[in-house]
Symmetry: C2
Subunit: 145 residues, 2 copies
Amino acid sequence: MQFSSRLPIATHILLCIVTFDGKEKLTSDFLAGSVNVNPVIIRNTLGKLKTAGLVKVDAGIGGAHLAKDPQQITLLDVFRAVEEEDDLFHFHDNPNPDCPVGCHVHDVLDDKLDGVNDAMKAQLASICLQTLIDDLQHKIQSEKE
Amino acid sequence: MQFSSRLPIATHILLCIVTFDGKEKLTSDFLAGSVNVNPVIIRNTLGKLKTAGLVKVDAGIGGAHLAKDPQQITLLDVFRAVEEEDDLFHFHDNPNPDCPVGCHVHDVLDDKLDGVNDAMKAQLASICLQTLIDDLQHKIQSEKE
DNA sequence: ATGCGTTGTAACTATTGACATTACAACAAA
DNA sequence: TTTGTTGTAATGTCAATAGTTACAACGCAT
């Protein structure tokens, strides 16, 4: 069981936007070429990022740009933009209320699982887009040499 | 996107085993009654827990018991027993190698996403079965009053 | 040793979500 | 108005979860 590829794809898109802004026209076709998925996936993802206030998209003429400073965007922002914000774990539906265990599992487990959820979110929040950009630039530079 | 209900179900089963051991015969039918899922799901889950060395199951006669001290079992053990151990995030398959972004996203993102993975695992590892049992007993006691 | 209740599995189905793809209306600039 | 693009709906495919039925293998009790 794992998450969809939405977060990686969205991050890839953001990195492209920063890298190519001003140099290329960032249409969904262009982005689809780098990410290597269908342009409609790009448009849907871009739509979610736009709703979340992370990017601006020029309808008609085409092209996407960041709406915020890369230092102000964390992976948690991206995650929340593209994934449904629900609990990490899916609790089984109807534990038996007449069983001493069944009627309390929820109470006992929910807190702990929320903690796991929070740990994951905190880690995502600790990574900002600027860091990724710096890493990326570094890789690109060291490749040229 | 979220995990399956396997971890909650497996934890529920373990709590039942501890709570009812010696008092009830812990057949898959009995457990299915508390968890409220199909007995086959219980048997499959129990099979995974057995493979992981967490429980012992008496075939034929029926009945399940812990194979380890509840203090020695963490939620990470349970998680690993019942979920496929793969990366939390599914990376999109073939980023364009001819694009400066596409050929480096993996390098840039993998470490960070592994970090998120590790954070989640660490949190799971910090919760042991004994703690859950204590919590559960406490809830049961305070209800009686 | 035979019958009974249980486990271990395989097979089948239904449901859901991810992702790809086609199609087309809405939109903005030249 | 033409052109290229976005936004979005509709559809198809695939994989995973979970429910269910069925039955062989197993182990105790009589």
